[in-house]
Symmetry: C2
Subunit: 324 residues, 2 copies
């Protein structure tokens, strides 16, 4: 990947930090749903970050976890799942359509994290193709997709083999002719290697988490980690940006608590775009803005709009910050 | 008004408290805009509370203040208004269409009150007729409108004469055949008297504020107040519910900090429905739920959905609270 080929709308610019609505706008609408994506585009945010799993019959669908979360899923009988579902990769597309992912189950820790998220009913897990059709609507001509392909090298049973994981995603993208409107990201860099093989022209984003303080995740960037697909930090002065650059990444996407001014400067000097995830509290959003990242992935894209404007910045060329 | 004629969807019920999205959903989307109304309906909330002013050429438009707020309005040149506009009643419908009400101006006190409200551009002040058309879409067949007609007896220059204030609103409602899907409310009870004269079959809601602690408003219910259109508290044991009932009101709509368990019980015993405004903080929403009001008017309808579900309650018959 020549990073100079990264489309302009995916890069930061002077006075512009791009906003990515995380799973749509998880803070206010159910995650990875068409209504969440549409609302994010309608408020003027130009990118959504989404999660892909592949069904047993090979359909890319938009859902985050290897199994459907009990805290966010009602079954065909309209009742909450008693436990997480069987793996998505073992279910057909039709089977998945029987679940309702429109709301969070009160009393769960997950629901408590998003107390302002609307509660809908009758909301199906969308296909990637449905979102792509939305992106093709004329009013959304300038939106784009930050697509995370879910895969876990420690649990290869949770996804198809790498070629069969990547190919159906690329097929949907290519059928719609939107290769220039997608960024492909993964924590599992083996997926990114496979993308480089099948579609070297599509920019890749290398997701990382280094901190041990994250509530639910483990470190993926440490030498010997299966997530790094054999890449070596030691061979690059311990520098993640250098490794990502060497792998041909266009984007480095670290956990926001991991990023430092030094690492950001190094990445940007290497020509990498830096998108941080997932930044929700106002103070954290402001800190990332002040640091000067290229993109902010957030569950609260409207809040982040306001934080940018308050600093005389914007998220898109069409929105000019005005003097207070 | 025979309160028994109040449509069921406008009344509370066992396990149901109605939610009204205040000005759409001011907490998350710009107030009194089509995108705010649509989003509120799409998340499953069945009523929006809206504000009507009449233009110089007699068109009912949706906006709250006598003049367009500088803190929320950009002019034809795309720049913030330096001060509030001239009165809406002095502007034609076409003139009003030149303003952009899609966002709040950073640095103002008003913007600071709604830090999670999305920032859009190119958003016009809607006509009542546009919202009514939305309500006629098949998917919104069961939504209804709580329409506040703005009028100030101390500033009669801010609105047409009472007959000319009320008639155009009724004309839009009648043309669409949705008289059974609207509730008409006002702080200025002279407006409600005029509605009783022109359209006695449409239910009326008597808005009140008693507290002196409200940041921007003055008391409207006190004997001798021009807002009460000559009604007397003294003649009704000082009881607002009795006055409202005597005037043929179907609904009493007090400021939420004014309501007491005693007054609520009295109102409900009189057959009145009680809708409280404008309840935004989670603790306040929960207190109103526990008190047992019929309806809650809120800038955060999604948050209020979640508060209801957490207490095993709902806002509509279609949404059944499920065991936790």
């Amino acid at each position: 990947m020549n990073t100079s080929a990264l489309p302009i709308q995916m890069r930061g610019a002077p006075d512009i930090i791009r906003l990515h609505g995380h799973r749509g706008a998880r803070g206010v609408l159910p995650e990875n749903t068409l209504i969440g994506f549409r609302n994010t585009f309608e408020i003027g945010v130009r990118a959504v970050e989404i999660d892909i799993m592949i069904t047993a019959d090979g359909v890319p669908v938009l859902t985050h976890n290897p199994s459907l979360m009990a805290a966010a899923t009602r079954g065909p009988d309209g009742r909450w799942l008693e436990r997480d579902s069987k793996p998505v990769v073992q279910m057909s597309h039709d089977e998945l359509q029987q679940f309702d992912v429109g709301g969070l189950r009160d009393g769960t820790a997950y629901a408590a994290r998003y107390p302002d998220q609307a509660f809908l009913s009758g909301i199906k897990i969308p296909d990637l193709a449905q979102l792509v059709n939305m992106v093709l609507e004329p009013e959304f001509a300038d939106v784009w997709l930050n697509i995370e392909i879910k895969s876990n090298p420690d649990h290869p049973d949770e996804a198809p083999t790498l070629p069969r994981l990547v190919a159906p995603v690329l097929a949907v993208i290519n059928a719609a002719g939107i290769a220039d409107r997608v960024l492909l990201q993964s924590f599992d860099w083996r997926v990114l290697t496979e993308i480089a093989r099948q579609a070297p022209h599509i920019p890749r984003s290398y997701l990382t988490y280094e901190t041990r303080k994250h509530p639910t995740m483990a470190v993926n960037v440490i030498d010997g980690s299966p997530w790094m697909d054999g890449a070596s930090l030691a061979a690059h002065n311990g520098s993640i940006p250098q490794v990502v650059s060497n792998l041909g990444g266009a984007v480095w996407s670290p956990y926001f608590k991991d990023i430092t001014a030094k690492a950001l400067a190094e990445a940007q000097a290497l020509g990498l775009v830096v998108n941080v995830w997932t930044v929700n509290e106002r103070a954290d959003i402001n800190r990332m803005i002040d640091l000067g990242v290229d993109g902010i992935i957030t569950d609260y894209p409207a809040r982040a709009q306001r934080c940018l404007l308050a600093k005389g910045l914007s998220w898109h060329e069409d929105v000019t910050p005005m003097p207070r």
